[in-house]
C-alpha cells in the first residue's frame, strides 16, 4: 500500500496528464488529476465555510463534466486555472466570485496542500505491518469520522473549520480525532509493532538534526 509517490506533484506538473487525458481519454491520467484536485478543492471549499458534502458533490460534478466533455476542452491549455475557476463558479452557484479572488487561489502555497517531503519520508519508512494496522483503523472508521481525520491530519484545517464544514460541535471533532488516534495506539501497542517504526523515525530525526547542524 506504499504507493505514495516520492516526488510531490503540483497542479502545474499535471500538464502532461491533462494532455494525455484529452487526446487519449486515458483513465489513469484522469485519476491522477482527480486525486490532486480532490485535496486542493476540499481545502479551498472547507476553508471558505462550505459544507463538506456540498464540496465533495461539486468536485465530482466538475470531474463528471470534464470526463463527458473532454473533446470540447481541447482548447484549455491552462488546466489549473480552468479547473479552479469552474469549481468556484459551481460552488458559489453564480458569478458572485470575483476574478481576483480566483487568481489568489490559483497559486495557493504548495505547503498548505501537499505533505512536506519530511512527512512523506516518514510515511514511506513505516513498516508493512504498521501500514496494515493503520489501514484497519481507517477502514473501521465511519465515513464521517474518516472525513474529519482527513480534514484535520491531512488538510490541516482548524477545529472550528471542521466543525462548520460537518455541522457538528467542536467537541465532537475533538473526540473523533482523539478516538481515532487512541484506536491506532491500542492496535499498535498490542502487537508491539512500534519498535521498528520508532527506530526508523529516530534515524530520520537525527539525520534531520545533523543536517541542520
Amino acid at each position: 500500500m506504499n504507493d505514495w509517490p516520492d516526488k510531490i506533484s503540483r497542479g502545474s506538473d499535471l500538464a502532461s496528464d491533462w494532455h494525455t487525458f484529452l487526446h487519449q481519454s486515458s483513465e489513469p491520467a484522469f485519476k491522477r488529476i482527480y486525486t490532486h484536485y480532490y485535496d486542493y478543492f476540499s481545502f479551498i471549499g472547507n476553508k471558505r465555510g462550505f459544507h463538506a458534502v456540498l464540496v465533495q458533490d461539486t468536485v465530482n460534478e466538475i470531474f463528471l463534466y470534464i470526463w463527458e466533455n473532454s473533446t470540447r476542452l481541447m482548447h484549455v491549455k491552462n488546466h489549473h486555472n480552468y479547473l479552479i475557476s469552474s469549481f468556484l463558479h459551481k460552488l458559489y452557484k453564480d458569478d458572485s466570485i470575483k476574478t481576483e479572488d480566483i487568481a489568489a487561489l490559483t497559486d495557493l502555497p504548495e505547503s498548505l496542500l501537499v505533505p512536506s517531503v519530511e512527512t512523506v519520508h516518514i510515511y514511506n519508512n513505516n513498516n508493512a505491518k504498521y501500514t496494515q494496522a493503520l489501514l484497519n483503523v481507517v477502514n473501521q472508521l465511519p465515513e464521517r469520522q474518516r472525513l474529519m481525520i482527513y480534514q484535520k491530519f491531512y488538510l490541516g484545517l482548524s477545529y472550528n473549520e471542521i466543525s462548520e464544514a460537518n455541522d457538528v460541535s467542536v467537541n465532537t471533532v475533538y473526540n473523533t480525532v482523539y478516538k481515532a488516534i487512541s484506536n491506532l495506539r491500542a492496535i499498535i501497542d498490542d502487537e508491539d509493532l512500534l519498535l521498528f517504526s520508532l527506530i526508523s523515525a529516530f534515524l530520520i530525526f537525527f539525520l534531520f538534526f545533523f543536517n541542520k547542524g
Partner: protein
C-alpha cells in the same frame, strides 16, 4: 511525559500543525520545545508518526471512495441523470421543509421550557448595550457623543468635527490642508464605556468600529507620511488607502495596542497599508488577537523581537508565551460589529464578552465547570436573560442573575 499529557497533545491544534508543518510559527515553537525537553522526544516522535501516517492513509481512502462514486456516475446512462434531477430537487425541498419544521419545533419547545425553568433571571433583566461613547479633545473638553446633537460638535485648529444623522462622527479639514509635515498638534480620544459601542470616521477617512470598554487615541490631524493610532480594547478597522501626494507612496497606518496582561505590559504594533481587520486586546483577555479580513498587515511585538505577516483569513494570537498565526473564524471575530455574539470558545471567554456588553460581573462558584466549550450565536440586542438561557441550554452550566452579578454554577 505521561499518558494524559500526550493525549492532550493529540488534540492540540498547534501540535498537529507542527506535525504536518502547516504553520511556521507552530513548527518553530515545537522544535524549540523539544530542544528544551529532550526526554520527551521519543514520545513526541511517536505521536508525530501516528498523526502523519493516519492523515496520509485517511486521505488515500477518502479519495478512493470519492473516486468510486464518480466512476459510478460516469457509468450511469446519461438519460437517467436527466430524469433524476427534478426528483432530486423535490427531495431537497422536502428535506429542507422538514428540517425547518423540526428546528422550528425545537426552538418553540426549548424556549418554553427555558423560560419556565429560568424565569428567575427574567424578573430583573439587564438590557443590552448600545451606541455610547465619549470624545475627549486635545484641549481637555469632553463631549458625550450619544447626547450631542447632529451637526458641528467642535472646531479645532486643523479640523472640524461633525456628527451625522446616523450618529457617526466625521472629521473635515478646515482649509484643504491634507495633513501636516511635523508631528500633530493634539490628541483626540474616544472612549466607549461598558455597554457601549461606536463607529467613527477618522480624519483620513479610515472607519473604526469600537466595541465596549475600548479606548482609541489618534492625532487631531495625521502626519503626511505616517498615520498612528493607539487602541486598548477591541476595534474593527477599515483603513482608507492614502498616497503621499509628493512621493506617491502609500501612507502607512499603524495601530499600537497595549494590553496589560503581562507584567511587562504587552505592546504590539500593527502596520497596514489599506485593509480590513479586527484587533482584540482587552486587558482581561489572555491573548491579543489580530484577525485579518482583507489586504495584509504586519504585527510586531513590543520589543520588536517577533513579527508576523498575516494573509486574509488568518489570525495572530499574541499571548503569554505564544505568538502564533492560525486560520481564523472571521465571522466569529467580527460578529460583535454585526451585532451578534458568536460563541466558539470556552465559557469563561464567552462570559467576558457578556460582562463587557451588559456591564455585569461574573462570579464563578466552586462548582462552576472549568472547561466548557460553547458553540452558538445570538443577537446582541437581546436582553441578558436570553443570552444566559442559550448558554444554559447546554445543560452543563447554570447561570443566575443577581442584580449586576452573574453566578456560574454546575
Amino acid at each position: 511525559m505521561d499518558q494524559t499529557q500526550s493525549e492532550n497533545l493529540l488534540k492540540d491544534e498547534s501540535f498537529i500543525n507542527y506535525c504536518l508543518e502547516k504553520n511556521e510559527n507552530d513548527t518553530l515553537y515545537w522544535r524549540n520545545w523539544i530542544n528544551d525537553h529532550p526526554d520527551a522526544q521519543p514520545e513526541i516522535t511517536k505521536l508525530k508518526i501516528h498523526v502523519i501516517s493516519l492523515g496520509i492513509t485517511a486521505a488515500q481512502q477518502q479519495r478512493e471512495s470519492q473516486y468510486l462514486l464518480l466512476q459510478q456516475s460516469i457509468k450511469r446512462p446519461y438519460q437517467n441523470i436527466k430524469k433524476l434531477k427534478p426528483y432530486h430537487k423535490f427531495y431537497y425541498a422536502a428535506a429542507c421543509l422538514l428540517a425547518f419544521a423540526i428546528v422550528g419545533a425545537c426552538f418553540i419547545f426549548a424556549n418554553k421550557t427555558a423560560t419556565s425553568n429560568y424565569s428567575t433571571n427574567k424578573k430583573h433583566d439587564v438590557a443590552p448595550g448600545g451606541n455610547n461613547a465619549v470624545l475627549l479633545l486635545a484641549n481637555g473638553e469632553k463631549i458625550n457623543l450619544t447626547s450631542a446633537k447632529t451637526g458641528l460638535l467642535a472646531h479645532q485648529k486643523e479640523v472640524s468635527i461633525f456628527k451625522n444623522a446616523d450618529g457617526q462622527i466625521l472629521y473635515k479639514a478646515n482649509n484643504q490642508s491634507n495633513g501636516v509635515d511635523g508631528p500633530s498638534v493634539g490628541t483626540n480620544t474616544i472612549e466607549t464605556p461598558a455597554k457601549g459601542q461606536y463607529m467613527v470616521v477618522l480624519p483620513d477617512g479610515t472607519k473604526v468600529w469600537l466595541n465596549a470598554k475600548t479606548t482609541l487615541k489618534y492625532p487631531e490631524t495625521f502626519a503626511k507620511n505616517s498615520r498612528e493610532v493607539e487602541l486598548n480594547g477591541e476595534g474593527y478597522f477599515e483603513v482608507a488607502h492614502l498616497a503621499d501626494p509628493k512621493t506617491g507612496e502609500r501612507v502607512r497606518f499603524t495601530v499600537k495596542t497595549i494590553s496589560a496582561v503581562n507584567i511587562n505590559s504587552k505592546i504590539q504594533y500593527i502596520e497596514v497599508l489599506g485593509t480590513h481587520f479586527n484587533v482584540n486586546c482587552y486587558p482581561d483577555e489572555p491573548d491579543a488577537v489580530t484577525t485579518l479580513l482583507e489586504g495584509s498587515v504586519k504585527v510586531t511585538d513590543g520589543d520588536q523581537k517577533r513579527e508576523a505577516l498575516l494573509h486574509p483569513g488568518q489570525q495572530l494570537i499574541n499571548g503569554d508565551r505564544s505568538f502564533n498565526v492560525v486560520q481564523a473564524n472571521t465571522d466569529a471575530a467580527i460578529a460583535w460589529k454585526n451585532g451578534e455574539f458568536v460563541f466558539h470558545e470556552d465559557i469563561s471567554s464567552a462570559l467576558r464578552k457578556i460582562a463587557r456588553w451588559y456591564d455585569v460581573d461574573v462570579v464563578y462558584l466552586p462548582s462552576a465547570p472549568q472547561h466548557l466549550m460553547l458553540g452558538g450565536f445570538i443577537s446582541r440586542q437581546n436582553e441578558l436573560s436570553e443570552v444566559l438561557n442559550l448558554m444554559e441550554s447546554t445543560g452543563k452550566v447554570h447561570l443566575k442573575l443577581e442584580g449586576r452579578r452573574v453566578l456560574v454554577t454546575e
